[in-house]
Symmetry: C2
Subunit: 343 residues, 2 copies
DNA sequence: GCCAAAACTGGGAGCGCTCACGGTCGTTCA
DNA sequence: TGAACGACCGTGAGCGCTCCCAGTTTTGGC
């Protein structure tokens, strides 16, 4: 007898029940089961109950692919994370944003999917995935400009809502942004109102909306300003510290500094304290974000609050309207000055 | 003239091209286009090129739902985050795990989807989503026992691989776990080898695999042990600090402590230092995880490394084999002692 | 008691794709 | 020369659902 290789018998895992199985079990037609599945209109109580019993008995779960094929809807949207090295995770605000979106979408029975794309290769696959009909729309946090995913999704007609102005696509993509410029203006005006006259700033990277807009707000509030009072940071604590050192060298007489993020502000405070400056007596410090760190600095940080719950709610509202066929819009959410002890 | 409400004209956004459009444009049949889409076997060079040109011209993107409907595959798997308050995000190791899985799946052209489920409501929707055929399988980080999603997914026959022993489902769900017990044993034996005689431990929560197994390893290495040398923590820094204080009260003569996580170990070190103990002179401290914090403590922490890249690779391998019809298996990944200055 | 409207139900068509099958070539080899 | 084969291609069937239309039954108003 030969050693015959039996063609793999791969036990098919017991075919999933379909709508037909349920219909048969309930003694009704496919159509009636479908009606029960979709809200139960025009279904008699008897039929409704028979179907429900049959579904329980057969362990039926609707096949989303079949459904989506005809409805052209997947009842899910993607939250795109496409930064190479994703620091977003570490940002507590990001968590708030994410959960806010999840909750808001849940009200419409839509599942939120987080998708990562670090490498170029990833980004390609993700592009295919997203435009292949898997999701009804996408949310994304736009940080640095030039995210290659945006034009692709836009070209395919996928509804996209960005959090923060999507540099280069402001006209074509919908977005929700905090009123960075106004927040910065408020802060600087507040600093002036407390008698500060040499107000410096540490900006975010100038290829990010927050970097640009907050600087613009600073300039707006100050009229013209001394270039020596401006230093650029990168939204990290260390970056803020380094920028503050540069500022102190360039303009030793500064008496206030508006820093474009709380984390950088924390770094700046360290630099100031190491330089022997008292906060706020010698130098007032203002931050931006009202994140966790604002409460842990010594002294607590005066900052600008952006309401993330509000932002996430608006993002979802916008996305749903896009999915419904509306045209892209921009929503600017107000910011609010939060005065603590650092200024 | 009456004010007639015109039934919403909703401009249909220019029907997406289908495989038939491509076939027509290329002058071939549906079947040939499909073959090109799926690897291009049995397709002449001329046809191949005509189809590719037609796809470019029409801007064709395959409809994943239609494809999935017949293949019963979605080419995507979910990574489930179902902790209510997700601290995982803050854990740098989690990032490594996530990216590792993404990369490993990418090799098979499978997209990884992160899904959140904080509330019960969320969990229900997620259950529906996952079992509705949207994904081919799921990866999950099992922390506390009793995750209600596990039995549901298992019942529906969805392939599931857990990271860490899924308490209560060890037999039915596949999992990959670090060799917690052996790691703990190694650490304690190392502490003994350096002459320590009163070795205490701070455990993780006892409804987590890490909590249980690391304690078991500690006990194994020590034979019997004094209950006064055991305190329970919750994987937080503050929890570690509190547990250390309790230990110092219960057993002031302890000369070493094995802490079940680096973060707790950092807290424990704070408590020790506040109590005037020198590390490692008076008390040696050993951690677990080899996370970022192990390098930032003063002195640097001796700890147990678990290889997250390895774990993620194994998880993906296991999941793919499950999807292929293999039966669940458990993989235990070795752990390794990393000696620094704290012990 | 009659008729129209409302309530409910069944089933055909079709969403966009893959798969299996069978047909048509041109080649090869006895 | 012709049978056998491989390369290539087209087509029907069908995945599991929703949608819609054409019934059939029930209800209500006069």
């Amino acid at each position: 007898m030969q050693n015959v290789v039996v063609p793999e018998p791969r036990r098919r895992p017991a075919r999933r029940p379909t709508i037909n199985d349920v219909a048969a079990a309930a003694g009704v037609s496919r159509g009636t089961v479908s009606r029960v599945l979709n809200g139960g209109h025009d279904v008699s109580d008897a039929a409704q109950e028979a179907v429900e019993r049959a579904m329980r008995k057969t362990g039926y779960v609707v096949n989303q692919h079949a459904r989506s094929l005809v409805t052209q809807r997947s009842q899910s949207v993607a939250f795109i994370l496409s930064e190479p090295q994703d620091r977003l995770f570490e940002d507590p605000n990001f968590n708030v944003l994410l959960h806010g979106c999840t909750q808001a979408l849940a009200k419409h029975d839509i599942t939120l999917l987080l998708t990562l794309a670090s490498s170029l290769e990833d980004r390609k696959r993700l592009g295919r995935y997203l435009t292949g009909g898997h999701v009804d729309g996408a949310l994304l946090v736009s940080t640095h400009s030039g995210n290659p995913l945006i034009p692709e999704l836009l070209a395919r007609g996928l509804p996209v809502v960005a959090c923060g102005k999507p540099l280069g696509y402001e006209r074509r993509a919908a977005y929700v942004a905090a009123d960075d410029r106004d927040g910065a203006r408020q802060m600087v005006e507040y600093l002036r109102s407390t008698g500060r006259r040499r107000i410096a700033t540490i900006t975010g990277p100038l290829d990010t909306p927050g970097g640009i807009e907050r600087l613009a707000g600073y300039r707006e509030a100050l009229g013209e300003s001394d270039p020596a009072l401006i230093a650029h940071g990168d939204y990290t604590r260390a970056g803020g510290e380094a920028a503050m050192r540069r500022l102190l060298a360039q303009a030793p007489d500064l008496d206030a500094v508006f820093v474009a993020s709380d984390l950088m502000a924390a770094g700046a405070m360290t630099a100031l304290q190491l330089a022997g400056k008292r906060i706020p007596d010698d130098v007032a410090v203002g931050g931006f974000d009202d994140s966790q760190v604002a409460l842990t600095t010594q002294p607590p940080l005066t900052t600008v609050r952006q309401s993330y719950p509000r932002i996430s709610a608006e993002m979802v509202r916008l996305l749903l309207s896009l999915i419904d066929g509306e045209s892209p819009a921009a929503v600017i959410v107000p910011t609010e000055l939060v005065v603590r002890e650092s200024a």
